[in-house]
């Protein structure tokens, strides 16, 4: 099926730059409550205003191939880039994914992430593909660098890590 292009499978099996790294200015944990996909994103930004650069973006993603691949593609595309470029790419990917297929995506702007264009036809999967990008937006905001595209988020930020919730595995307290 055309959704699972080789590029997506490749990114999901070997996510680009995966693993959480220091130093970082902000860390967020987002989950997709309908299916339990989870992602932790850390950002490290240098400079300010128009000179701000995303020095490092590290992540730990647990989820379906679409959400992991999308986060991996994001890391590949914007790590080391000026925040202005991250803003443009963030808006472009969001437009493509929420276009129901009308916006095929521009490879020159979003790189490998054009492979995710097929996701737009499956409304249930759009959240998966946006998970990492929404976490990025949130992490940058917490680091004091709000992206200009401040529309609704599709995932729910959480402050605690569900995998370590105190009552989750022990049985009777």
């Amino acid at each position: 099926m055309d959704l699972y292009q080789e590029l997506i499978l490749e990114h999901s099996k070997r996510p680009h730059g995966a693993g959480l790294r220091d130093p970082f200015d902000a860390e967020v944990h987002h989950v997709n409550p309908t299916c339990g996909d989870e992602v932790t994103v850390r950002v490290h930004v240098s400079g300010d205003g128009t000179g701000a650069v995303l020095e490092d973006l590290s992540f730990d993603a647990l989820g379906c191939s679409i959400s992991v691949a999308s986060t991996s593609m994001m890391a590949e595309e914007i790590t080391g880039q000026p925040l202005s470029a991250a803003t443009t790419k963030h808006a472009a990917i969001k437009s493509m994914l929420t276009s129901k297929g009308a916006d095929p995506g521009d490879e020159d702007v979003i790189g490998d992430a054009v492979a995710l264009a097929g996701v737009a036809k499956y409304p249930a999967r759009v959240k998966c593909a946006l998970l990492g990008w929404m976490a990025l937006e949130d992490a940058l905001a917490q680091a004091g660098h709000a992206l200009r595209t401040a529309d609704t988020t599709t995932s729910q930020p959480t402050t605690t890590d569900h995998r370590d919730a105190p009552n989750s595995t022990e049985g009777t307290p």
């Binding site: 099926m1 299916c35 191939s65 679409i66 999967r125």
Partner: protein, 428 residues
Amino acid sequence: MTATHFTEAEVARIRADVAILSRTVRDGKTLVYLDSGATSQKPARVLDAEREWYERFNAAPHRGAHALSEEGTEAYESARSRIAAFIGAQPDEIVFTKNATEAINLVAYAFSNATTGGGGGTGDRFRIGPGDEIVVTEMEHHANLIPWQELARRTGATLRWLSVAEDGRLDLSDLDEVVNERTRVLAFTHQSNVLGTVNPVRELVARAQVVGALTVLDACQSVPHLPLDVRELGVDLLAFSGHKMMGPMGIGALWGRPEVLDAMPVFLTGGSMIETVTMESATYAPVPQKFEAGVPNAAQAIGLAAACDYLADLGMDRVHAHEMMLTERLLAGLAERPWVRVVGPTDTTDRGGAVAFVVEGVHAHDVGQILDDQGIAVRVGHHCAWPLHRKMRAVATTRVSVHVYNTTAEIDAFLEALDRVPEIFGVG
């Protein structure tokens, strides 16, 4: 004599009653609907009954004295009787709710109302506070977990739970410790919507009775699939949803022992549930009216009664036999695929037709997508049982769930479609 599953010709007749099963999806592929655990499909008889209500009887039941209202009330109350009979109950032991979720919340709020002195009721039995304990199990649907978490939070009572063992069955080794003289209520599922496990109701009820705890059974996944008699089960209260048993959405029920319902404070208040009202206060109608505030979902209640009639005509023992035949075939097929891990019992002993599994190395969303692309509808995710998934070490699972209209050919089609997963993802 043990009941037999339906023949191919019989299933074909059932399928002919359920129009949606003959539609196609995703560019002309035949729909294979294996998600009845989420919601079931409806036969024409149910749809006709709802339509007939609006075409012939539509009026507010129990209000007004005109001809339509009288006939409407009679139709609505006849629905209650038929639904009651379906589970071996008396009509006035059935309280209509919008679904099982509301039914369970009704009970949880009855406890808090009793605790704060509201809601009428006479039940000390429902008073709860610090030092008291509420017991659930680790395999509960969120609908039978969160209302109790909230009750504990509101009242200061402690929430405890029975854990689930590796094989997907309740670990009852500490039953006597967890359910003890401090336990006020034991709420548990009859059949897990994820694992398919059918829990030992009598054993749990016996322990609850020793310590005087009220028992609440979530029968969402059992009433639609097996012959059930509330008096044989021995529980105090039981909740189920119409939409999972070929009935409409928007209708469910709480069954309760008369003396329990009688003593229980009310939850929703307003019109139709009163006896007398002054500006200062009100007294409440007898059960079940005192729990049914507002104009009811009458058409849906009548649709649900039609679903009960439909299932009763098929024979619940045969419905069960049919589903178990399909489940056995499904489990055998999955067992032949070493890259599949079934989450739950792997044989048909004390289990029903909800089968969750993991394809090692592939997220359930991806499994579901590949099946969906071939027209096969299954559920993926945590199925509203997140703590259970964590316990079973699965971020998410894929769940196949059957109902009476499914065929062996559909099980085979699913298994064949599943083989695309390792092909595409290069695992197994």
